[in-house]
Amino acid sequence: MNPMIRKELRQRMRERRGWILPSLYLLVLSAIISFAYYGVSSESSATMQGWQIGTVLFLTLTYSQLALLLLMAPIFSAGALTIEKEQRTLGGLLTSLLGPVQIWWGKFAASLMFILLLLVIGIPVLSVVFAFGGVGPWEVGIVAFTTLVILGTMSAISLYWSSAFRRSVHATAVSYVTVVLMTVVTLIIFGIAMSRVHSGDGWHSIPLKVRAPLYLNPLFFLTSALVPKNQLYPEWFICLGVFVALAALCAVLTLRNLRRSGDIA
């Protein structure tokens, strides 16, 4: 096992936020599912069947989970490299036999593992949905995979900012700006562009240049995963390609920054 991963996980679990964040996450998720359940069951108990309630709860949970994790991802990764600069420990790492790739991978994997931990501890909440039906293993699997890809990309982006800045506070702030740009600004740009285009024949009649910003949008990526299995192509696959390419680009840029950071180490 990469010693960086073990070190990172050990340090993260020793921090107060190592248990505060998962606890908060579970509390908020439970609150959301409770409100959603009471909302759905009180308003439409006569008209909605169990599987429909299950579907509504699943969608609520899926989007809420992504929103919460998008807020948490920068906390885990935006400070990962800046803390090494702030503590002046980066020099020790760079002069050891750990290469920049191992350092990056250790930081990235540790961030992703923490997110995975949050996804796993959310399973008991998700199990409420199964009681109502309407959601199968495929839906759960594709949503979990898509969420993981989105958060992996956000972690890679935050790690890049962490390699570009010297202070954690700056890297974290810019990481949140990136989250907002990708989730909100892309939607606004799409909305503005759509208002200037007349297309009444469905999604595929919208010109690609109008749709393009949405391929960067995590919520759209997640939505594209919720279509029937045979309709995943092309939107989900395009989003997957865009997010993986973005993560790879950030990884390459982070490695370049790491190799050049000896003067501040």
């Binding site: 010693p3 070190k7 020793r14 503590q87 002046r88 020099g91 002069t95 036999l97 003067d263 180490a265």
Partner: protein, 312 residues
Amino acid sequence: MIEAAQIRKRYNGSRALDGFTLRVEKGELFGLVGPNGAGKTTLIKILSTLIRADSGVARIAGMDVTANPIGVKSVVGYMPDQPGLYQDMRVREFLEFFAEAFHIPGQRRRAVVEQGLADSGLVARAESFVEELSFGMKQRLFLAKTLLHSPQVLLLDEPATGLDPLARVDLRDQLKRLNQQGITILLSSHILADLQEICSRVALIAGGKNQEDGAGRSVIELRGQDATQPQLYEVGVLQDGERAGQLASAVAGVKVLHAEPLRIVVEISGDASQASEFLRHLVISGVQVVRFDRPPATLEQRYREAFGEKPR
């Protein structure tokens, strides 16, 4: 063991190193001294592979630091001026992490960590968190980490900064011991007394270049005398110091550095017989010599000659 030739490095347009050259032999404890901003840290960072020189050649144990950084890292132990430690790790965990980072295999790793704890006197604190240690202990822990992979070369950048006097003595003794074990050490420091006591030679650096002392030497011998180098002599006279100076300057192989009414300082090339001949010449010429010494040239004197100031 350590070679740096014509090293140049610029940061944002300003020159940190401007053709600095250095050669440290195997088994030496070599000092590097110069004012703030002289380029000492930049040189040590280049040698430790942290940064790349713009031009010039740097080699450690015959390996080019740019072409073979992994090879260099495996034989070099680097200690920066402000050693960074993971405060939230236990002492043993810290050493274990770096033993793993230096790819020391599992079975040997445990032995190496135990040895590191014993050598640094931290066995009793092995399970303490790093943040609970005193500054001196942290410095010892970092040195133990630096030695985990049994480096042949130690690059130490101001290791005594912030240490109390006893911890400084401890560090000096430890460096002497390591040097006696055959480790080549390049040590930059502002504490001239420390360098004077433990180093065999010291290089002077200023403005990123080799700096010369009053005698035109950029590397000062502190242990043993180099017969090929001119030697300093101080001559005490009764009253005619200036005349003595004029007489001395007429003697071949003698260079007058200072001439005062009661004292002249000269530099004599060649062996002791040349000095004896010079003394005889002064006495025959009627100069009333009351003292003829070869004063131990302290590093501080040389530093003043080279930089015209006290070390900062």
